[in-house]
Each structure stands twice: as C-alpha cells, then as structure tokens.
Amino acid sequence: MSTRHQVLRLRVQIRAEADDEGDGGFLFNKQTAAICACNGTAWTVVQRLRRGGEADDFAVALVAAYDVTAAQARKDVLALIKELRSLDMLEAR
C-alpha cells in the first residue's frame, strides 16, 4: 500500500509544540529525543497528522492555505512524511 492511501498519524510519544510568535513549531520524540523543526507549511500538515489522515487530504489542506499547486503540495507532503518516518514519528494504519 502506498503512502498516499494510508491513514497516517503522529505517534503517541510525539510532542508537537507551536511557535508562539511564528507560524511553525517543532516535534519532539519523547522516547528518542529526535527533534524536527517545522516551518509554517509543515506545521499545517502536522496539525492534521495529530488527528490522522491521508497524504492527499494533507495536500488539499496545503492548497487551501498556501498559493501552491496540487502537484507541488503533494510533493511537499510526501517529502515531509518521508522525513517524519525516518525520525520514527509516524504510524500508519
């Protein structure tokens, strides 16, 4: 099954903290201390990853929030998912 159709969610041990003054934030893995700084675009996706969803849904959210094409949004989402997976921050159903 490809990433596109999996329901993805942040693992329970991941703490997500917004930047009070900016539009981004960061993720912290409480088990491994891995840190991922997120810019505004990534944070938009992270907000949805907390609730869980599919990559395409995240891309749609990006298109709605930013001046970006659907193809670019999908590419960005997949890149972020790859990064978060490498940090063991995501679980898939």
Binding site: G25, F26, F28, Q31, A33, C38
Partner: protein
C-alpha cells in the same frame, strides 16, 4: 531551621573533558542555595572546576591515589577536624573502590558515604564488563581486551573496522583502519595503563541511564537521556531527557545484577538496524551531564546526598521529558594569592564572584564563532567583553547551526542570527552574497554598526565583503589579504628565513609537499616533531610511523602542503592585540599559559607584562600594515630562553573573555577603532594586570528544542532584553 550540612566531593578537574564533580556540585548548589557547604577535594591547584564561583565553598588538596589509602584517609580526617563533614561523594571511577574500602573508617569518624562494595565495582570495570554481560545475558558489543599493544593490529583486523579503541579506565577513539588503531592505542595505554580494549562499533544512537541505588540496592532515582550531539571525541555535549519504557525497564533489570549502592551510569548504544540496546559501559559515579537532572526537576545529586544523610527516602519523581542541556564554558578569574594559599596550606576559600556589569551604549555589534561544542570559539568571550563596553547597546550572535551554544546564552546575546554555512571555494560568490544579505537583514531588523568575525575560515569572506558592508554602515576591522599572507604560517617562515621578524625568534621550519619531503624532514628534525596544516591543525609526532599516519590524515582532509618543525619545549605565551586602520597597535594583552587542555587550548593563564615583546610585535605589525585583531602564539624555549613565534591568527583568541575580566577590553578597542572613535586604551603598555588568574571550566547550560526550532524556522532568535 534546617541543619547546615557539609559535603566533600571530588572530580573538579578535566577541563574540556570535565570530571563529573563540578556538575554534581552545581546540582547540589542549585538545590541547596543555603545551608550546604561544599568542600572540593582536588589533586592539583589547577582543578579549575573547584574554583568556579558560587559552587564549592573551599578547595582542599588531597594526596594522589597512588600514594595509598592511609595518606588519603589521614588527609580526609584532617579536613574533617577543621570542617566537620557530614558526607563524602567521590566522583571519579578510580576513586570509588578506594573510598569504598575506606567507608567504614570514614563512617566511624562521622563521614557518611553510599558506595558499592569493591568486588561489585571490579565486576563491571571496562576490562571485566564483557564477562559480566555474558554471565548475565546482557547485550554488549564484542570487546577484546589487549594487554600487549603489539597484538592490537591482529585483534583490530579480526574485529573489523570501524572500531573503538578504549583506555582501561577512560578515553575512547573511533578508528577506521589498522594504522589508526595502533596510533590511538599507544597514548591511551600510556595514560591509563594495562593495555587497551578494542570494541566493535555498533552504529546507532547513544543512550544513558544515571541511577542512584539505595543501601538495599533498590532504585532511588533514575534519569534516562540521549546524547543528541557528540563532539569529535565522542563526548555527549548536547543531550535530552527521554522516556523510553524499554530503556527504563532494561536499566531496572540490570540494577539487581550489579548489587549496587549509590550512584552509577549505564551507557548504551541503540543499534540503528535492530533497535536493540547494547550496554557499552558502567561508570561507578554520577555522570558529567548530571546537572541536566536539575533542569529536569529530578535532581539526582540532591537525592543522593539526602539519601546519604537520611537513608530510606521515597523514590524521586521522574525527570521532565525533553529537558535538555548543552555543554558550554564558564570563565572567571582567581587571585594569584588564593592559588598560592592552596599550594601553601592545602586549603583555600573560593573567592566570591563580583556581579557582571553590563553597559548600554549606542552601538550594535555582531560577533561570530559562538559555540563551544568542539573547541571554545572566541565569539563567546568577545560577546562578554562587549557586554562590558559602555559604548555597546546590543550584542548580536552570528550562529551557523541550531546547536551553537551561544543560542542558549541569552544573557550574552540580545539576538542570535543565522549565517549561511561555509561552502567550498567554488561557492564563494554565493556564500558572500548570502552572508551580506544575512547581515543586512540584521541591520534592518535590529541595527548593526560593527561586525567581528572570529573564525579563521570566515576572515577572507568578511574581508571581501568589507567595502560593501561599509557602504551600508556596517564597519569591520580586518587585515588585508597581503598582510594576512605575510603573517600566515608559511609567510612567517619566509620572513624568518629573510631575518625580517624584527628580533622575534621563529622555529626551524620545513615545507612538506610529498612523502619524500616528510622522510627528509624526519631525518633532519627527528622526534618529536610537529606537523602543521597551513590553515588550522598541528599534531605532535613521536615516531616515523606516527608522522606518516598524520601526514596521510592531513592529506585526506585536504591539506596538501604542511609545515614541519622540531618540537620546542618551554612555557607557552599568548598575546591578543588590536591594531587600528593605520597598523598602529592600540593595545595588547600578553599572558603566560598555565593550563592547557588535551587539545592544546588555554584553560588557565596569567597576564604577564612583556613590554619588549609588545614593542617587537608593534614594529612588525606596523611594518606589515596589520589591521584589526590578532592572536599571537609563542613559546619561550626552555633551552635558549628565547621567545619563539609560533603563529599569528587574524582574530581574537578563545581566551579573550579574560580581557574584560581584568579591564583590558580589546574587543571594545576594536569597536571604537572600527567606528573611528577615540581609543580607550592607555598610551603605554600595561605593566600591572591585578594578579588575577584566568580560568575556564565546562558548564552545562539549559538548552531547548523550542529555541533550536525557532532559530531554524525564522533564522533568528530574539532574547528578552532589548
């Protein structure tokens, strides 16, 4: 009112590889601001951690362990008579079995300890750990103890590369081939004795568990952490508290097998491939990162002392997950008289520190080189000097990575801004543009009048940018390319050959461009010899094989041309100075280096008037037309008593923070010269520096993922004070 307590502790030396006593004492002091006296037991007056202001109350010299247990016991009892001790916490691996054997006699005198039995310590030493793990079915990397160094190549080849070469007590180097294994084994065996250990290098992340066991062996307190950043020597210099149930469970499973009492640390590597934890080491004392437990609200040293004083306490709560530390440095001065007193009487009080004065003028100054994760960079000291300059209103740190320790020094920097990471030469135009844009952005957002680059690799870039920066109102003061070339390592050797160093000595030097050159200089200079890269590095070699290994390593790292010099023996000196735009030396701070870390950097020094040397330097620099700061390194040859020039760097030295502590504020002089204001320096060279010794210690400071993330996302971090 709570009873006043007094604890003796050890482990205040170690410099850039700090012994754990200072961190443990800091944690105790954080917990007991009043009502606790800390007596620092040190083997040498230069244990800089013991002198750290606001931590220990007194230092006491104790005899070396090699002198035997009786002299140590007698000394402890003598200290106890003058300053009655309630407890003693040894913080060095080699000491713990000794104090364990003395525990009963100490207890009879009223000095309490909480230590494991000597046989339980012996069971888990580095040499015995492999057997302990095998007997108790604990995963550990394949490890071979090699008592005869001649067998290192054989066993290293059998284990495969990379592997760790470890000393029997401490010290570890990762090596990638047989030659490196032999090269690293020799000094480790010489330092710690008894051969070396060769250990399979398992790729993965390093995790730690610090624990305190009660008298009955049960767990009183535990903090688990992960090393987030290891320096070149494999030491964790950034770390964070984690909550990994697997690690927690494993540590608790191991504890009863140790039959332990008191503090200890388990070091693990979590294999990247399997996710399994392998036990690397067991240390029988608190770790040097233990101050993190105070940041995390679960102070293990405080729990340990409380348990020693009143056994049977409830388990400490879990530390706050995500609490983080970064290892930075603290610099201060100690009167010569205090050091003399310690040497004379064996005891000295730690001087009370004076509060730092901060001034608020009209200039905004940016400084780079603001981290101490590998070597202490000069920007940290420059910033502290600028904080004391009455003309400076804002100090802006220029950082390259979110790990730079300056990011967590909000008292020293009003703002930290990101500079683009240095690339290769091909990128110089793009790099220059990115640097200019970054500085312009700083100016627009926060104001910026002067920039002081503090890293060797930046100087050429900032020199190229200087005219353009000047046009937008950002001033700098740097030597031009010709002056820099003339006083480079190679340039100095040419000047010396032409007898144009103005009376300054210079060691015999040969240029090494090939292996053949190296063979020839080896025959000419013999051992020991120093091999130097043209840019940064210098390594002492004591054998032809070592010379070849270092030559190969330098070449692999891009140093195609090297310099070779016979090793000079003698006292080392340094001079930091500033020249104005006309090449006139405005002011200088000469010092004698008194304490050097393993990597040859100054951690203790004393300002020393050297007017003749300063005259000679002023003449040379004036003739060359040097502008801006310089860091001059010299050795007084013990044979000829002649001052030999070693090198001149176009920046401030890393010990520059000393300058402001003794009112010789060279960074202030530089700022004033850069903006064409009158100098604050005296008309003639100073001859009295107040008899204050410079000292530096490691200091774990609170770090935060949130600050790192803000720096990454926004490219700057603004601190509260504006």
């Amino acid at each position: 009112m709570a009873q006043r307590r007094r604890v003796a502790m050890t482990g205040f030396a170690g410099l850039d590889n700090p012994e754990p006593g200072l961190a443990a004492a800091r944690a105790l002091r954080a917990h007991w601001k009043r009502g606790l006296d800390i007596e620092a037991l040190v083997y040498a007056p230069w244990s800089t951690g013991g002198w750290t202001p606001g931590v220990a109350d007194r230092l006491h010299l104790i005899p070396p362990l090699a002198h035997g247990e009786l002299p140590l016991l007698q000394r402890l009892l003598a200290i106890h008579r003058r300053h009655p001790l309630d407890a003693l916490i040894p913080c060095l691996d080699l000491e713990v079995p000794v104090y364990s054997r003395l525990a009963t006699r100490l207890a009879r005198a009223g000095i309490r300890t909480l230590l494991p039995q000597p046989e339980d310590i012996a069971a888990v030493t580095k040499v015995n750990l492999h057997g302990f793990c095998y007997a108790n079915q604990i995963l550990t990397p394949h490890t071979v103890y090699v008592s005869d160094l001649a067998a290192v190549p054989l066993h290293a080849d059998l284990l495969g590369y990379p592997l760790w070469v470890k000393g029997t007590v401490a010290g570890a180097k990762k090596v990638y081939n047989r030659e490196q294994a032999v090269f690293e084994a020799e000094p480790l065996a010489a330092r710690w004795g008894g051969g070396v250990l060769l250990q399979e290098a398992i790729e993965g992340s390093e995790h730690l568990a610090a624990m305190v066991a009660r008298e009955d062996g049960s767990c009183l307190a535990m903090a688990t952490a992960r090393k987030l950043y290891c320096n070149e020597r494999g030491k964790g210099v950034i770390g964070a508290i984690v909550d990994d149930p697997g690690l927690h469970k494993l540590a608790l499973q191991i504890l009863p097998k140790l039959h332990w009492r008191g503090p200890h640390e388990l070091e693990f590597v979590r294999a990247a491939k399997s996710g399994l934890y392998y036990l690397l080491e067991i240390n029988c004392r608190l770790p040097s990162w233990i101050y993190l437990s105070e940041f995390a609200g679960a102070n293990l040293p405080a729990a340990l002392l409380a348990e020693i004083l009143a056994p049977g306490r409830r388990a400490l709560r879990a530390p706050r997950v995500g609490a983080m530390y970064a290892r930075d440095v603290e610099e201060f001065t100690v009167p010569v008289a205090a050091l003399t007193e310690l040497k004379r009487s064996g005891e000295a009080a730690v001087p009370v520190s004076m509060p730092r004065r901060t001034c608020r003028g009209d200039l905004a100054v940016a400084v780079s080189g603001i981290t101490s994760l590998e070597l202490t960079q000069p920007g940290l000291g420059v910033a502290r000097c600028l904080r004391r300059a009455p003309e400076v209103s804002r100090v802006i740190g220029l950082a390259y990575t979110p790990n730079d320790t300056g990011l967590f020094r909000s008292a020293d920097f009003d703002v930290c801004s990101r500079l683009p990471l240095p690339g290769d030469d091909a990128d110089s135009t793009a790099q220059d543009e990115a640097t200019f844009d970054a500085l312009l952005r700083v100016k627009q957002r926060h104001g910026l009048d002067v920039v002081i680059p503090n890293l060797d690799l930046e100087i050429a870039r900032f020199r190229r940018l200087a005219p353009e920066l000047d046009r937008v109102g950002i001033r700098s003061l740097l030597p031009d390319a010709a002056a820099r070339q003339k006083l480079s390592k190679l340039g100095l050797s040419h000047l010396a050959a032409g007898k144009r160093l103005g009376g300054l000595g210079f060691p015999e030097t040969a240029v090494v461009r090939s292996k053949r050159d190296l063979e020839q200089v080896w025959k000419r200079f013999g051992a020991p010899m120093v091999l130097k890269g043209l840019e940064a590095r210098a390594t002492r070699v004591y054998s032809r094989d070592q010379a070849l290994t270092i030559w190969s390593r330098f070449r692999e790292d891009g140093e195609k041309v090297m310099l070779a010099q016979p090793l000079l023996y003698g006292e080392e000196y340094g001079v930091s100075l500033v020249c104005d735009r006309r090449g006139r030396m405005i002011d200088a701070l000469p010092l004698k280096k008194l304490v050097m870390c393993e990597r040859g950097k100054t951690w203790g020094a004393l300002a020393t008037p050297l007017p003749l040397l300063l005259d000679q330097l002023a003449e040379l620099l004036g003739r060359i037309g040097w502008r801006g700061p310089a860091d001059v390194e010299l050795i007084r040859d013990s044979l000829t008593d002649r001052m030999e020039l070693i090198e001149i760097n176009p920046r401030f030295p890393a010990w520059i923070g000393y300058a402001a502590l003794i009112e010789v504020n060279l960074p202030r002089d530089l700022v004033l010269a850069a903006v064409d204001r009158p100098a604050a320096a005296p008309a003639s060279w100073r001859t009295d520096f107040g008899g204050l010794v410079f000292m530096r210690t490691a200091e774990e400071i609170p770090a935060a993922a949130s600050r790192m993330a803000v720096f990454v996302n926004r490219g700057e971090l603004v601190n509260g004070r504006r």
